[in-house]
């Protein structure tokens, strides 16, 4: 995958943007505004789940405006793990939005908090929590 790999700084930048959006969501508390902010986050994750982290809105911003200003790097990353992490993000934020629509407003800050931890660790340390959950997920499916 080295030939078709993606610049690893792209998903990290995307996670940073996502962390900012999730902080805003948390600051809004619980209510229509917070639900709307979380829905935007879920929408961004949905784009990433379908197109991969490099195809997200943040990914396009990175490749068009940020990356040309950075030093070029030969480092490449397999696009599958970041994409899987986008799916995990979609499941978490999507559940929050669905529960809020069903009347459970408290689900919004909980979902935003969980997603923020994952996005923050990715942006700050390059640690992909969503990717780490892959094996756990497989084990649960295997037992079921």
């Amino acid at each position: 995958m080295t030939e078709t790999g993606i610049d690893p700084r792209g998903p990290r930048f995307g996670a940073g943007v996502m962390a900012g959006l999730l902080v805003v969501t948390l600051l809004l508390g619980a209510g229509p505004a917070a639900t709307a902010a979380l829905a935007v986050a879920a929408l961004l994750f949905a784009v990433g789940a379908v197109r991969g982290a490099q195809g997200t809105v943040q990914g396009v911003v990175f490749s068009r405006w940020i990356r040309p200003r950075l030093r070029p790097t030969a480092e490449r990353e397999d696009p599958r793990p970041p994409r899987f992490a986008q799916v995990v993000g979609l499941v978490i934020t999507g559940s929050g939005v669905v529960l809020a629509v069903l009347g459970l407003d408290a689900a919004v800050p909980v979902a935003a908090g969980v997603a923020l931890v994952a996005a923050f660790l990715n942006a700050a340390f390059g640690f992909c929590l969503g990717c780490e959950m892959y094996v756990l997920g497989r084990r649960v499916l295997h037992r079921a």
Binding site: L27, L116, V117, A124, F127, C128, C131, Y134, V135, R138
Partner: protein
């Protein structure tokens, strides 16, 4: 997590929320730090996997002195780098084998050894018994030291790191 309805203005709520967000980020950074420093070295095996692992169960021959069984996944970004480190380390040590397996294909080993994340490296002794294990990023020196602890051989500088090799 319901919003508190206090006589104070909403700025108090906002301050509280901001403090909670800051606390959440601080706790996750600490947890990450604890996790990475704890797992990035070989540790004595607790889940010993029961009996010895045979070459038949592994699906490939065991090393004469030690075997590194690496469990990887397609979604694991550092697995290829860890595999490169282990492959070159094993190549420089006679009787040491490196076997990389995908967790999707080997759920039996994942269950047997209680694997929670990728990459997890199981270090087997000559008989196929689990000597130690680690998960996460790995450098050559850590791998060599763990192998020597199992084989009982004194470290010999059989190979120097190849040019361009990244040591984490």
């Amino acid at each position: 997590m319901a919003t508190l309805r206090t006589p104070f203005s909403s700025t108090v709520d906002l301050m509280t929320r901001a403090a909670l967000v800051a606390a959440l980020l601080a706790v996750s950074a600490l947890a990450w730090w604890a996790l990475t420093t704890r797992t990035s070295r070989f540790r004595p095996a607790r889940h010993d996997g029961g009996d010895l692992l045979t070459a038949q169960q592994l699906g490939s021959p065991l090393g004469a002195r030690a075997t590194l069984v690496q469990l990887s996944a397609a979604t694991c970004s550092i697995c290829p780098r860890v595999a490169a480190v282990l492959r070159s380390t094993a190549a420089g040590l006679p009787g040491v084998a490196h076997v990389e397996l995908r967790v999707e294909d080997r759920m039996d080993l994942v269950e047997r050894y209680g694997v929670l994340r990728t990459p997890t490296v199981l270090l087997l002794d000559a008989d196929g018994g689990l000597a130690s294990r680690m998960s996460g990023p790995l450098d050559r020196e850590t791998a060599r030291a763990a192998i020597h602890a199992v084989t009982g051989a004194a470290p010999t500088d059989s190979t120097a790191p190849t040019a361009g090799e990244r040591l984490d």
